[in-house]
Subunit: 321 residues, 2 copies
DNA sequence: TTGAAAGCGATACCAG
DNA sequence: CTGGTATCGCTTTCAA
């Protein structure tokens, strides 16, 4: 590269980085740029960050299970916002690694910040990441981890909303669908807990209803519906709600007269069902806000970890309750 | 690190990599391992791959729009399969970069392989990636790119299936929903083309129906349904099908008597609709197969690029047609 | 304005 | 069996 342009490597570096401290003559710049095009030269990111001692990579583990449109859009927005701040977002495919192992794998890449959904991370792991040069570690989950910033996604609030709404509509024997699919516990357990909390101290009862995301499972549950004697159900989310509602209707269970059904996530499909599905609308943190938090933390790594409760939950009352 | 263990950096490297060529005494190994734990030492991936001259990173651009469960699962499977072969999958958040720019950004990371969905990549860009050390470039899209392996996802086949099925069911005036959402053209245009091809040379007509993914848009389309005089519609996919079917039913259009509706993707929600939605089942390439292709290409970079047509399409006939 | 050289962290070779 | 040392590609300081 340097040879082809007939200049030194240093000069190449100056030109390609537009270093303002030194001024390079116009003809030289041209020669360098031409040589770069001709050779298809691309700088070596590893060498650069090795020398620089830091990078602008924001690392997050790639999701391992199908994720809804809500979260997809959140990620997109986040990438866009971090991109504007000149960070590079990298989703790292961590297949079977957990806790400490995963943290070490991430630390090897020396990211400037790490975003971790879920709560698979201990204080020890945070320390490893920080020692390896991460200036910000942010968890998105149900509880804060020592040493890391936290965006608390309070899924209990979702259940709380649903439970309160159903109680206000006069329902007293309330079922809560708990998906059997693995990986969803992190959301389903707090949602169930939220319903319990909403109804604590009242005469209402809460029954948990394990359910796999399959027609047959829903049919089996619907078949014994009348013996369960429930008058309402919070179905975890809109998709499970659709599954269960269909099965109940096929059994001749009247919705909402006999049983009220409420979902969560406020997906389009809920609006399309008949009766239209009531749901808990969930407001994720905006990608912009999270990007700003990351940027602040990176610029000022000494600051105390911030903990924000995000995730606004509010009932959208339609026809199924 | 080396200082704390009282040995040289080389020895550290030997111990931590279990280098078999040299044998290190047990006490020394212990000291090294203890020091590593104590310091929370993690090797520096950039330094390692700089020295080694290559990495085992497989790079793919992160999807920029919400992606369905089909594709999510494909990615998961792929990550798992490549993980088994000791590759590391990295989804790189390329926000607004296109073509050449994106290729250069990827090349900076010196990945051993690059997987690119879509066809935003020219032969020139493939060359840049290869010169930068990528031993395999694989495109997943509708057409092959010179120099790169290709997994052709033949979305025309999806339309072809749908068109053939509707014709066989006696339908002759066929509408095809084309989503107005940006980013979906890559799929929707070939699907429409496929329907055209299926009906070419017959007396049947094909009408394209632009539609935004909103209730109001669907209602407007349904309101002028009878004047369109169609007796069948291929709705791009199951979600658009649900949207349109609902609107048609609200207008009192009989399904399937008056208008047959078919979707695509074979999602769960189609089975839950009444009438149950006919659909085109799509078989994506298995993650395992793609992982093997990547591995083969990496081991033997000289070989001629392979082009495979993947994506099997088959009609699932239910009640809506 | 440009060139020479040090050094980031890990590895592989070659001496000790 | 272990320690020095050159090396990967790039940035940056210092001299020329």
């Amino acid at each position: 590269m340097a040879r082809l342009a007939g200049v030194s490597r240093a000069t190449v570096s100056y030109v390609l980085n537009n270093t303002s401290a030194v001024r390079i003559s116009e003809p030289t710049r041209r020669r360098v740029h031409e040589a770069a095009k001709e050779l298809g030269y691309v700088p070596h990111a590893a060498a650069r960050s090795l020398r620089a001692g830091h990078s602008r990579m924001v690392l997050m583990p790639a999701p391992t299970f199908p994720v809804g449109p809500l979260y997809s859009q959140f990620i997109s927005e986040l990438q866009w916002a971090l991109g504007r701040l000149e960070y590079t977002v990298v989703q790292f495919g961590t297949v079977g690694l957990h806790g400490a192992e995963a943290a070490r794998a991430w630390a090897e890449l020396r990211p400037v910040a790490v975003l971790v959904p879920g709560s698979d991370l201990g204080p020890k792991d945070v320390a490893v990441l920080k020692r390896s040069g991460a200036r910000a570690v942010v968890t998105l989950g149900s509880e804060a981890v020592e040493g890391a910033h936290a965006l608390l996604m309070d899924h209990e609030a979702v259940g709380l909303c649903a439970g309160t709404h159903l109680y206000a509509r006069g329902r007293r024997r309330i079922g809560v669908v708990v998906p059997e699919e693995p990986g969803l516990d992190a959301f389903s357990v707090p949602r169930l807990e939220g319903v319990r909390r909403a109804l604590h101290g009242t005469e209402a009862t809460v029954t948990d209803l394990p359910l796999a995301y399959e027609e047959a499972a829903a049919a089996r549950l619907a078949a014994r519906w009348r013996e369960l004697g429930l008058d309402a159900v919070f179905a975890y989310n809109d998709e499970y709600a659709m599954l269960l509602m269909r099965a109940l209707q096929d059994e001749g269970v009247g919705i909402p007269q006999e049983t009220a059904v409420i979902g969560a996530d406020d997906l389009m499909l809920g609006r399309l069902l008949r009766p239209r599905l009531s749901t808990v609308h969930i407001e994720l943190p905006s990608g912009r806000d999270l990007a700003d938090l990351v940027d602040r933390a990176v610029r000022n790594p000494g600051a105390a970890p911030e903990t924000h409760t995000v995730l606004g939950a509010s009932v959208v009352h339609r026809d199924s309750t």
